[in-house]
């Protein structure tokens, strides 16, 4: 019988603790390492963003040289996608999936550790570039080719030295880690569910990590392939992207975006998972339309593989090519919209509790809606011919990534931090975090749409006065300060609550999935007895034996 009390503190020497963490194959520890790693890089990428916002706050600024600025936006984008978003989502998935399906660990614990360390070393390799060559004050030889590294800018002729190679090699490493992680998620979800948990009884988080895993398998690999080709060009004088030998640089674009577009769905789908777990609990209602949510997620996975060239509308594809991608891109909005309706319907008729996880979810709904709509606008090729590669696009995708993904991640932190540490995060600080960050987010990214509409392209280290861009850029830069403040409150909340937070107990939120059926934090083996389930909400069935879910499913 598992009790709610904290386990007795056992004294271990610091060396033992460090070794335990470095050598662990336990999914919970690995999950936490992914998350902490990502948070460190979140801070670093935030600093990179702040520096850029200072430079862009007024016209013809000289705070940063063009070379340093170009390295900053390259590193900011690359870090954000590969060393913040992917690891943090893999971290939450790693921690939660086995618990939520009633398993004791992932299918391949050692592969799990290997995948984490590959990703971790990839990030370290990328950042080593800042210290190599010119030295840190000259920002080293960090890559400066943009996070999508278009050919032939990456050819030896236009990228002398090794900066591009840091980009290529570090992402190859991280890619191996991602594929290993995806293999693990799929094998775990398909092969390790507890008795009674058929696929149609799995929590939506498990479904979404399954789809995400499948997507990673066919998404990261094209990038790996393209990067191998780039290495052949750079190291072995190959001609994959060498126009002088008849090669095509458009082919790099195709391969990159065949990776790059589904990749953003890889990032958002686990966030859909968090929202799908949190909104029902805080609305006190079952998820509305579970089968539709599953179907929508799976179809998003498939359709997202066919939209990539909407990043290439200006490249000179024939009209029917452009039109095809307009169609597929708009089609993928349909299942996405359906999910928003399902979340709304879950809240509808419920009893909404505005704890911090829930207010971050509401922020997500509002912002993801707007982000999706600016996405629809950009999906229209004629619109994109004007707005593509401008700050409108930058505003759009930051709306998704910060307003959507990061808000969902904050919600997940507040919701599952008690499970991971045994202590509640402070609600007052949480609300401060939310409102301060919200103000900063909207100042920065609402304003950012306007310069794009007024003709400001992206990736420019400075701009001329008189185009009408200065005020909006200044507003965006001011917003960044609020976001920093919000993050500082968040970090303080986590550190303070880890030591002094209220004890959480097994199930502080009165929730319904299996992770709340064990202690906070769970013991190494997760469950003393492997659970057996009969419905999608096993704990609802226990708490409401007169009205269990399996009567209605």
């Amino acid at each position: 019988m598992v009790s709610d009390a904290m386990p007795l503190a056992i004294h271990k020497s610091p060396l033992t603790v460090i070794y335990e963490w470095l050598a662990t194959a336990d999914h919970k520890k690995i999950g936490i390492m992914y998350i902490v790693y990502a948070l460190l890089f979140l801070v670093i990428m935030g600093i990179e963003a702040l520096l850029m916002r200072v430079q862009l706050s007024h016209a013809n600024a000289t705070f940063l040289s063009p070379q340093v600025f170009n390295r900053l936006f390259t590193m900011h984008g690359t870090t954000g996608v590969f060393f913040v978003a992917m690891p943090i989502l893999f971290g939450f998935g790693n921690y939660l999936v086995p618990l939520m399906i009633g398993a004791r660990d992932m299918a391949f614990p050692r592969l799990n550790a290997f995948s984490f360390w590959m990703t971790a070393f990839g990030g370290l390799l990328l950042y080593a570039s800042f210290f190599a060559g010119d030295g840190f004050s000259q920002a080293g030889i960090a890559p400066d080719v943009g996070w999508f590294a278009y050919a032939p800018l990456t050819a030896p002729a236009f990228s002398p030295g090794h900066s591009t190679d840091y980009w290529t090699l570090s992402l190859l490493l991280a890619g191996v880690g991602s594929i290993g992680g995806a293999v693990n998620f799929i094998a775990t979800i398909l092969s390790m569910r507890c008795p009674g948990m058929t696929l149609s009884r799995m929590p939506l988080l498990a479904w979404m990590n399954l789809v995400m895993g499948g997507l990673v398998l066919v998404t990261i690999s094209p990038l790996t392939a393209a990067q191998l080709m780039l290495m052949v060009d750079r190291y072995m004088s190959g001609h994959f992207f060498d126009t002088g030998a008849g090669g095509s640089v458009v082919m790099w674009m195709h391969f990159f975006w065949i990776f790059g577009h589904p990749e953003v769905y890889v990032l958002i789908i686990p966030c859909f998972a968090f929202i799908s777990e949190i909104i029902p609990v805080f609305s006190r209602k079952a998820m509305f339309g579970y089968p539709a949510m599953v179907a929508a997620t799976v179809s998003i996975g498939f359709v997202s593989l066919g939209v990539w060239a909407h990043h290439m509308y200006t490249v000179g594809m024939p009209s029917y090519g452009n039109a095809f991608f307009v169609l597929t891109t708009m089609v993928v909005a349909v299942p996405t919209g359906i999910k928003i309706f399902n979340w709304l319907a879950t809240m509808w008729g419920g009893k909404i509790r505005f704890a911090t996880p829930m207010i971050f979810c509401i922020g997500f709904l509002f912002q993801f809606l707007i982000a999706g709509l600016t996405g629809i606008m950009l999906a229209a090729a004629p619109f994109d011919w004007q707005l593509g590669n401008s700050y409108f696009v930058v505003a759009h995708f930051h709306y998704v990534i910060v307003g959507g993904i990061l808000f969902a991640i904050f919600a997940a932190f507040y919701y599952w931090f008690p499970k991971m540490t045994g202590r509640m995060l402070n609600e007052t600080l949480g609300k401060w975090h939310f409102w301060v960050f919200l103000i900063g987010f909207h100042l920065t990214f609402d304003a950012m749409h306007v310069p794009g509409l007024l003709g400001m392209p992206r990736r420019i280290y400075t701009y001329e006065p008189g185009r009408g861009w200065e005020t909006w850029n200044m507003i965006s830069s001011i917003g960044a300060i609020f976001q920093v403040a919000g993050i500082l409150i968040f970090v303080y909340n986590m550190v303070h609550s880890y030591f002094k937070g209220a004890l959480a107990g097994n199930d502080p939120w009165d929730a319904w999935t299996l992770e709340w059926a064990t202690t906070s934090p769970p013991p190494d083996y997760n469950f003393a007895v492997v659970p057996v389930v009969r419905s999608r909400r096993p704990l609802w069935d226990i708490k409401h034996p007169d009205d269990p879910d399996w009567k209605y499913e």
């Binding site: 063009p66 490249v315 409401h544």
Partner: protein, 293 residues
Amino acid sequence: MLEVTGVIFAVVFSLLVYAVIKFRQRKNDDDFEPPQVYGSHQMELAWTVLPVLIVVVMFLSNAQVIHRVQDARRPEGAVDVTAVAHQFWWEYRYPQYGLVTSNELHVPVSDPRNPTPTFLALQSGDVDHSFWVPRLAGKTDLIPNHPNSMWIDPQEPGLYLGQCAQYCGTQHAKMLLRVYAQSRADFDQWVHEQQQPAVSDPSVAEGRALFVAKACFVCHSVRGTPAVGQIGPDLTHVMSRDTLASGAVTNTPENLRAWIRNPEAFKPGSRMPVTELTDKELDQITAYLLTLR
């Protein structure tokens, strides 16, 4: 497009606000769970079918616009320009008039009753670039080994500003575009002036000689002289332009001199190397270039 997205936003946002207010847990709550609703076939069908219809309509209208723009027929009076993008300047060739210029594009204003748009053939001499003058047209990329084309149809005379819109290296930010839409008479006058070979003023003979001796001619052309370099902008009529370094600075004698002395000061990372010149030589070369109207 904006109307559709606006309406969708208004509807969904209102529903969200309503739900958050109406269904919040009240202070005097009875602690019972609300009725559990697992789904509704009618609702789910409705909110699937309606978006699909919206998508179909939007796709069809998009396809029409795409076709009208990309497959537009080229009218008789159109002007042809081949734009070649370089790191970090623009080369313009007018095959119909046999002239080459750089960085400032002149086109005739087009009359809707008798259109004379400008059709641009887009090529690149090195990496990917993009031609974006927002008030004239959407952008189209210039990609090596992948020629593109686009057309502009300005109906109001004036100066239209833009800049390169595909990251192309260190000075991507200062690869500015200036398009001058002129009346037919002004445009013809400009063409005539640009077609002339370079002004040959004997008082700047030393500067002209230095232009060759100091290897400027390796990169730059001045028509009517031995300078036929293709690597940098054509300078035959450099003083007819309002700006230097592809819009980076205004074209004044001081700026011209400072640019030649040290391109890095205006445009760090520009491809023009620093040439070793004494002050006197710099004065002479500047004086020579100042005659190239």
